[in-house]
């Protein structure tokens, strides 16, 4: 479904060049969970940003469903992101001043038309994620767990085939983190693929493919040594 081919990316920080990704290759198949771990600043988020088309790699190619992603003018990546990719972040990235309902429907509004079918789907998602009672509440007033559940529901509203989760439980307490991990794994069991950046050993172990990002390279990870964390 997603093929990342020889991706490289460097940044200039304080006038110094830093190569964050150096010839990264990755293949994600339908229904597969890919866990990526690594030290802070090793480029895990950058890799997710490139996969989703938010930033352009310096070199290399990204293929989605066999078609190469054209980064020029941000039109193709934006289209893919809206229809095929659901994003879940550590910081939730909700609009705190807006209602739960508005946040949930935002990707559908960007897609174009918010019809009866989408509204029914949104109501179902609210119910599934135990947010039915908070439909009209401002998102900023929700608890951490509720916010992340809303973020996952929002990621699913356009029924994407790939979920990108960037340390989704890092900001949550242990109990809520477990709950969110379970939700994410349930989501994938419905046939969606997921790339999850995490330091949670249990999540890593449950993944189909495990990688560690080290010095810009993606290396196979056995899931035993998490000493860097």
């Amino acid at each position: 479904m997603l093929v990342v081919e020889n991706i490289s990316k460097k940044f200039y920080i304080g006038g110094k060049e830093k190569k964050v990704l150096d010839g990264v290759n990755l293949e994600i198949k339908k229904g597969e969970i890919v866990a990526i771990t690594g030290k802070s600043g090793e480029g895990k988020s950058t890799l997710l940003n490139i996969i989703s088309g938010l930033i352009k790699p310096d070199s290399g190619k990204v293929y989605f469903n066999g078609r190469r992603v054209i980064f020029f003018l941000d039109i193709h990546p934006a289209y893919l992101r809206n229809r095929n990719i659901g994003f879940v972040f550590q910081t939730f990235r909700l609009l705190p001043q807006e209602s739960v309902w508005y946040n949930l429907l935002l990707p559908a509004m960007i897609k174009g038309f918010v019809g009866k079918r989408i509204k029914e789907r949104a109501l179902k998602l609210l119910k599934d994620f135990d947010l039915g009672d908070f439909k009209n509440m401002k998102a900023g007033l929700l608890s951490g767990g509720q916010k992340q559940r809303l973020a996952i529901a929002r990621a699913l509203i356009n029924d994407p085939s790939l979920i990108l989760a960037d340390e989704p439980v890092a900001n949550l307490d242990l109990e809520t983190a477990k709950e969110i991990e379970k939700i994410l794994l349930d989501v994938v069991s419905s046939g969606k693929a997921m790339v999850i950046v995490t330091h949670q050993l249990e999540v890593i172990k449950s993944a189909d493919k495990r990688f560690e990002l080290k010095a810009g390279k993606l290396e196979s990870f056995d899931g035993k040594d998490l000493s860097f964390n």
């Binding site: 938010l54 930033i55 972040f89 990235r93 960007i110 918010v114």
Partner: protein, 420 residues
Amino acid sequence: MGKIFLLIKELFGNVFINFIVFLVILFASFLTSTFVLVLLNVDNYFNRNFVKSIPPDVIKVTPKTYVATLNIFGLTSRKPKGSYIDDDILNKVRKLDGVVEVEPLLVSRIPMQVFVSIFGIKYGSDLICIGVNYDLIAGDIKDRRVKRMWNNWKTGDDIPVVIPEILYHAYNSSIAEPNSLPKVTREMVLGVKLRINFGKSSLKSYADTVSENGVVVGFTDKVANICLVLPIKVMRYYNEKFNAHSEYIHLYVKTKDHNSLLSVSKKLKSMGFVVETDKNISEEILKLKKILGFVGNMLILVIVIMAVTSIGFSSIVAVSSRYEYYKTLRILGASRFFIAFSIVFKFALIGLISGLLSLFIFERGISFIISSLPLKGYFGIFSLGKKYNDLILLGCVFLPMVFSLLGVLRLYDHHKLLVD
């Protein structure tokens, strides 16, 4: 539908900052309008009280002196450019840009004599006559009867004759005094009958000489030649009767304004004529006008820079304050183009509404206040007019658009839009 909803949402997103931008544009355009109106009135006051109340001087045009000589073939050479003024040249001068009126002085080109009886003594003399329009001497002789005589003369009527002041003084000081003759006063000369011979002088006489009666009707300082001043009609008639080509000794050229005086003088000089005028007043007035205009434009520039800076600054701040929102939209699949379009659209709309409102308040409010104040002598313009209104409205729409675009440029910087 969803995207239209997002566009509307963008308009009402961060209402407080949008309202600040709205107020800044409103205030800036209001200030600019007020300032432009004040300057228009200063310019108008200056024009009315200085430029137009001190009319430009009249330009006196004289052909260059030319003495015809015989060439080796015994023929007279052709008159050079600028040495004569005939009807063709008169028409050319009339058509010059900036010329309002041309008063020609048509010189007699035939032998002439005049006889006058004064103190019981009969004087006779060859003379030069100059024909002019009544308008030229109207300031010296305000008499309807004379005007009628001057304009309606036909052969057989008494010819109205005007004596140039210079001739009057020249007679008393150079003829009467040296020859021990009694001096004349204006009252003595007025109404004196003359006998004027056309086509005859002490040196030459044509076969069909005509003798006409004339009467002195006044004095003038508009013609500074030793001659008699007659209606131009008379002079043209007798020049043509004796087949003499009409030529003008001077032209008095009136111009539209001080600016035209300078340009017309320049053109007349380039035509080869001797040009006399007092250019100093025109030059000084134009210089003063230029300085005032420069100071005014500088002040407008300062106001406009202040307006542009405040509009620009508030627009950029408004865009920057919503970067997190735009980032979220991007993550969820909005393209940079859509985000940029919604921002620019919002600022264009805010600019349009605030610009229209500011012009409405200005035209209805400030203009009304100024017109109701006792400033009648100073303020003559109470409205900016379409040209300035359009310009200010254009600025209100485009400046926020352009500056919000500068803010939007950050959306195209990958480093600034990195997702954590």
